[in-house]
Symmetry: C2
Subunit: 227 residues, 2 copies
C-alpha cells in the first residue's frame, strides 16, 4: 500500500465504523489470508441487486432481456476497474510483493474485485440502505447516460463493440456443423475471442442465429468472469 486507506475512504465519501473492514476490502489475496475475497462475493451480489432494482425503476417499459443487457453493460470487470481508476483505488491496495512487481494495482480483475469488496465492506458496516445509496452515487454518471439505443443491440454487436473498446481483434465465428433436413437444418457455430481461451458454441436454425447464440454465451462467460 502506497497511501493511507483513510485518504481513499474520504475520496469515496465513506466513513467506516469499523475501519478494519475497509482495509480488508483493499487486501488482495497475494498479501494476506485475511483478504477481500469473501467481501467481494458479498459485494458482487449487492451490486447485482442494486443495479437490477435501479434499472427496473428507470426503465418501466424495458423487457427482461433488455434489463439484463443493460446491467451487463454497467456491471462488468472493465467498467468496475474504470471506476476504481477514477478514484485511484489502485494506489491504496495491499498486494503481495509478486503482484506489486508485476503491476497488479493496474490490473482490471484486481481493481474490480476491490471495488466490489468495498461494497461488501460498506454493507457489513452500515447496512443495505447506505450501501445502496453509495452504489447509486458511484454509478450515477453511467446510469444517467444509458440510452434506449444501447438496449437493443444484439449479442454479436455487443461482443464486437466490447472487443473494439479493449482494442482487441474482432470475434471469430466458425461454422462447425450443419445437420438435419433442408427445412429443419441446425447450425452449430464456434465463437472465439483473443481475450480468453474458452470457446463458446452456439446453435440455431440459421448460421446467423447460431452466431448470435455463440456471441451471447461468450458475453455471459465474460460477464461471469467479469472480463
Amino acid at each position: 500500500m502506497i497511501k493511507k486507506p483513510n485518504e481513499l475512504c474520504q475520496k469515496l465519501g465513506l466513513s467506516f465504523n469499523d475501519p478494519k473492514l475497509f482495509i480488508m476490502a483493499l487486501t488482495h489475496r497475494s498479501a494476506s489470508s485475511n483478504n477481500n475475497e469473501r467481501l467481494e462475493f458479498l459485494g458482487d451480489s449487492i451490486l447485482g441487486f442494486v443495479v437490477a432494482q435501479k434499472l427496473y425503476e428507470l426503465f418501466p417499459e424495458a423487457p427482461e432481456g433488455v434489463l439484463s443487457r443493460l446491467r451487463a453493460s454497467l456491471v462488468n470487470q472493465h467498467s468496475l476497474a474504470e471506476l476504481a481508476r477514477k478514484h485511484q483505488v489502485g494506489d491504496y491496495l495491499l498486494l503481495g510483493s509478486g503482484e506489486l512487481k508485476s503491476g497488479g494495482f493496474r490490473r482490471d480483475s484486481i481493481l474490480s474485485d476491490a471495488v466490489e469488496a468495498i461494497m461488501g465492506a460498506l454493507f457489513k458496516d452500515q447496512g443495505i440502505v447506505v450501501c445502496q445509496q453509495w452504489i447509486e452515487q458511484l454509478f450515477a454518471e453511467q446510469l444517467a447516460s444509458l440510452s434506449l439505443e444501447n438496449w437493443q443491440k444484439d449479442p454479436k454487436t455487443q461482443l464486437q463493440e466490447l472487443m473494439q473498446s479493449k482494442k482487441l481483434s474482432l470475434p471469430d465465428y466458425t461454422l462447425i456443423t450443419m445437420s438435419g433436413l433442408a427445412h429443419e437444418q441446425m447450425f452449430k457455430v464456434k465463437c472465439t475471442i483473443s481475450l480468453i481461451k474458452d470457446e463458446c458454441i452456439g446453435t440455431g436454425i440459421s448460421r446467423k442465429r447460431a452466431e448470435q447464440s455463440a456471441a451471447e454465451l461468450m458475453l455471459e462467460l465474460l460477464n461471469k468472469e467479469n472480463k
Copy 2:
C-alpha cells in the same frame, strides 16, 4: 389459473398491499404481455443477494469459492422448482393455452421463474427487509442442512451428482488436444452432458485439471441458465 391467487398468498405466508403485483408474478409470458419476466429479473438479483449474505454470516471461515458453490447448490432452477412444488405454485400459474396443454405448470423453468418473480413482487410491495425475511424462511430447511461436506466437493463430483439427481447419464469428458513440451504440457478437454447441447472446454496442465475446469464451466453455464 386453476385456483385463486389469494389462497396461494396465504399458503406462502404473504399478504400483498397491491395484489396485482402478486398476480403479475404468477403470469407466464404465454398468457399476457403483462407477465412476470421483469419481476423475475428483480427477484433473481434479490435472491442472489439474500443468500450470499446469509452464507457469509453462516460460514465465517468459508473461502469465497466455497460460498459460491454453496449458493449455486441452493439457488438453481431445480431447487427453486422444488420449492414451487412444495407450495403447489403450479396450480396457481396463469399460462397461455399452449403451455397449459403441454403441462407448463410442471416445468422446472416456469416454476422457478415464478418463485423468483414472487420475490421481486414482494420486494416491490414491501421492501427489502420483509422480502429478505421471507426468502430466509423459504430456504430455512435447506440452509439448516448445509454441511461442510458439501462445500469441498470438486466440480466434477458436483456435476456428476447433479446429473445423478436428475437421473440423467453421467457427464462425458473427451480429450481434444495436448500441446507443449513434456514439462509444460497443456491439456484441452471437452465436457458434454445430456441436459444441454452446449459443450464446455476446459484447459489445464494435466488431463484431470482440464476435466475439472471443463466441469466447472459446465456448472457455471447450468447455473447461469438456471438448470
